[in-house]
């Protein structure tokens, strides 16, 4: 198990380096090939060539991509100093780059925004697990009934309706219309109820999408598991049906869902872009969209890496949990 973990961690590290290189290529080489001068994004419209040159220097745009990537990786561990025109900017370790658009180091901004994204993802995950699993299991047990069809139609709607639609709709109804919820983000340290009021709609909106997916998968998996021989064995023992479902069927149903959950949460760590944008939540997703619109490369790079890292970690955690749940995996 330990050797396995070490191997996986090593693979993850290699993967990260590859991601950094690829991201660098995408963000620095592709514009170059397309004839776009990145430096022009960082200066005003009246900037002279020397200003453009200074920016190019600051961002070390003239260095080969590998050198830039190496500097970047070094910065993560040792910190970095950007100097240009008498202006020295320190970016202390872990330095995931420095934005010259907002004059902020990337890492502190990400760590500051991360809790919002984390709260959004975890809160929504709790909701979507409760409702997704419940709906999926009930649908599986009542398959073919009106309930089942109704639930699956709602689930289909949840999967196919875009977040900004459901989000705006929920805002229009509960916030502007009925006025039950303010719907605006309030930091947790300011007010717990205010925070809850700001988070509840995003939670529900995001959870609606995922609950729909989870319900569909749960239903399908549950139906498959219920046909397994060991479920019949459990019944033949004289177990009450609720126990059969809970103890025997649910545990097997959870395995594929766990993989999904790990991947989904990992991906969400990079920010739920649409949800955060719709509700103006100051999380990573909002930042990354903002960064993309403003061509703020360091932030895009930073968030991309954080997301990749989160997905890699999620993968690892899922694998370990998998072994905990399914004893057959432990041997491998």
């Amino acid at each position: 198990m330990l050797a396995y973990l070490i191997r996986r961690l090593f693979a993850a590290a290699v993967m990260l380096v590859v991601i950094i290189l690829v991201v660098f290529c995408i963000f620095f080489l592709v514009p170059k090939w397309a004839g776009v001068d990145i430096a022009l994004n960082y200066v005003g419209k009246q900037a002279g060539p020397d200003a453009v040159e200074a920016v190019r220097q600051k961002l070390s745009l003239d260095d080969p991509v590998v050198v830039q990537a190496w500097e970047f990786i070094k910065g993560i561990f040792a910190g970095r100093t950007y100097a240009s025109g008498g202006d020295v900017t320190n970016c202390s370790a872990p330095c995931f780059g420095y934005s010259f658009k907002t004059e902020q180091a990337v890492w502190p901004v990400l760590t500051e925004r991360f809790p919002v994204t984390l709260a959004l993802a975890l809160g929504a995950a709790v909701l979507w697990l409760i409702f997704g699993l419940a709906a999926g299991v009930l649908s599986a047990l009542k398959r073919g009934t009106l309930w089942d069809r109704g639930a699956m139609i709602v689930a289909l709607a949840g999967v196919s309706l875009p977040i900004y639609f459901t989000g705006l709709l929920s805002l229009a109804i509960f916030s502007y219309g009925l006025g039950w919820i303010n719907g605006e983000f309030v930091p947790l340290e300011d007010s717990l109820t205010g925070w809850l009021g700001g988070m509840i709609l995003p939670w529900v909106t995001l959870a609606f999408l995922y609950a729909a997916m989870y319900a569909r998968i749960t239903r399908a998996t549950m139906m498959e598991i219920l046909g397994e021989d060991y479920i019949r064995t459990a019944r033949a023992k004289g177990l009450r049906e609720p126990v059969v479902i809970r103890k025997h069927a649910m545990r097997s149903t959870l395995t594929p869902l766990l993989t999904m959950l790990g991947m989904d949460l990992g991906a969400l760590m990079g920010g739920a872009i649409l949800t955060e944008t719709t509700f103006s939540l100051p999380g990573l997703g909002q930042k990354v969209l903002d960064a993309i619109q403003n061509q703020d490369l360091p932030f895009i790079l930073g968030v991309t890496l954080i997301t990749s890292l989160a997905v890699l970690i999620a993968n690892l955690v899922v694998d370990v949990l998998y072994a905990v749940i399914d004893p057959r995996v432990r041997l491998a």
């Binding site: 047990l141 019949r232 033949a236 097997s252």
Partner: protein, 365 residues
């Protein structure tokens, strides 16, 4: 076996009102039908038999003949855990120790499951839950019916594993099913079934998934255990060889019905139905040359939605034209007594069958 009532409509009494029989297990006119998109699948269509304590009944037939469905029917597993609209339709009577199961409270039947009647399944790997240890699964089976703490139950589990011949049972009790060999798994499965001393044990193809040497061990084990516990046993198999030495009585099923039944030695040595002949022909026998080709029953099992009219076996029966007036294709044959406690459903006359058996079939076996 004692008196056997006639199968199907011949009983003539409305189900559910008949008096409790004296036999330990009596099945009367059991019908198990499954509605599907293509039509009604009549998996079991009027089956009756009896079984006494301490006796073994072998139910033999091809896959799809309804033998497994019958066993699940007795266990009440067609109704437990059936979800959605398409539920199995079951009628008839199943009397177990004076209780009619089909009309009984489902929760009462549930309590009988595992305690009064237990079941061994064909493939122990898929029939055991992969995420729980053998011990956990046996402990669970025990504690459903016994109000004891986990420790006591685990002691019982170790004891049972020991009894079914698993070495180092106190260690293996914590192993997972996938850590066992096939034979060991089936022993564990048997241990689990017997943990509550059931009075009826149903073994559904208990050896099919095992290799030949292990098969014999498992069958020996079942026999020994039956003697020890005094249970009634139903062994379901497609292989007559499995039940040859084990069963007191045999019941041969075809197309959801019984085509022949009787004491085992009668059915073996004086079979009175062409389908039984076919089964005997396809049975590997130790006393014969291994090289000789097994003779399978030609053709494929009938559709349970549209059974052939007349005798369901007629399309595959080499002797379908022996009776006159095409009766095999128009009239369904009823079970008739062909010997002492020996019944068969065939249009051929007793003489015709005896002649064909002694002259054509027996010499080739």
């Amino acid at each position: 076996m004692t008196e056997l009532s006639k199968s199907g409509a011949a009983v003539g009494e409305p189900t559910g009102t008949s008096a409790a029989p004296s036999a330990f297990l009596e099945v009367r006119d059991l019908k198990v039908h499954f509605p599907t998109d293509d039509g009604l699948v009549k998996s079991v269509d009027g089956l009756s038999f009896q079984l006494e304590r301490g006796k073994t009944l072998g139910i033999v037939g091809e896959s799809g003949s309804g033998k497994s469905v019958t066993s699940l029917g007795i266990m009440g597993l067609h109704t437990a855990g059936q979800y959605g609209k398409r539920k199995a339709q079951i009628s008839g009577e199943i009397w177990l120790d004076g209780t009619e199961l089909l009309s009984a409270d489902p929760d009462h039947v549930r309590k009988l499951r595992g305690r009064e009647m237990a079941m061994i399944f064909q493939d122990p790997l898929s029939a055991l839950h992969p995420y729980y240890t053998i011990g956990q699964q046996i402990v669970e089976a025990y504690r459903i019916h016994h109000d004891v703490d986990k420790k006591t139950a685990k002691r019982r589990a170790v004891e049972m594993l020991d009894r079914v011949g698993i070495p180092q049972p106190d260690k293996r009790v914590d192993s997972y099913p996938h850590e066992f060999s096939g034979g060991m798994r089936q022993r564990a499965m048997i241990a689990m079934s017997l943990v509550n001393n059931p009075e009826l044990l149903i073994a559904d193809e208990p050896t099919t998934a095992l290799d030949v040497t292990v098969q014999a061990q498992i069958l020996d084990l079942i026999r020994d255990l039956q003697k020890e516990f005094g249970s009634a046993v139903i062994i379901i198999t497609h292989d007559l060889g499995v039940v040859a030495e084990l069963a007191d009585d045999l019941l041969v099923m075809y197309g959801g019905r019984c085509v022949e039944r009787g004491p085992a030695e009668k059915v073996f040595y004086e079979p009175r139905h062409p389908y039984t002949w076919g089964l005997l022909g396809s049975m590997p026998r130790l006393d014969r040359d291994q090289q000789e080709r097994l003779i399978p029953v030609k053709g494929s099992p009938p559709s349970l939605i549209n059974l052939p009219s007349g005798c369901a076996f007629n399309p595959r029966c080499p002797y379908a034209d022996v009776p006159k007036d095409d009766v095999t294709r128009t009239v369904r044959p009823e079970l008739t007594e062909v010997g002492s406690k020996h019944w068969a459903a065939c249009h051929m006359s007793q003489e015709q069958r005896e002649r064909i058996w002694t002259e054509e079939i027996a010499p080739k076996l």
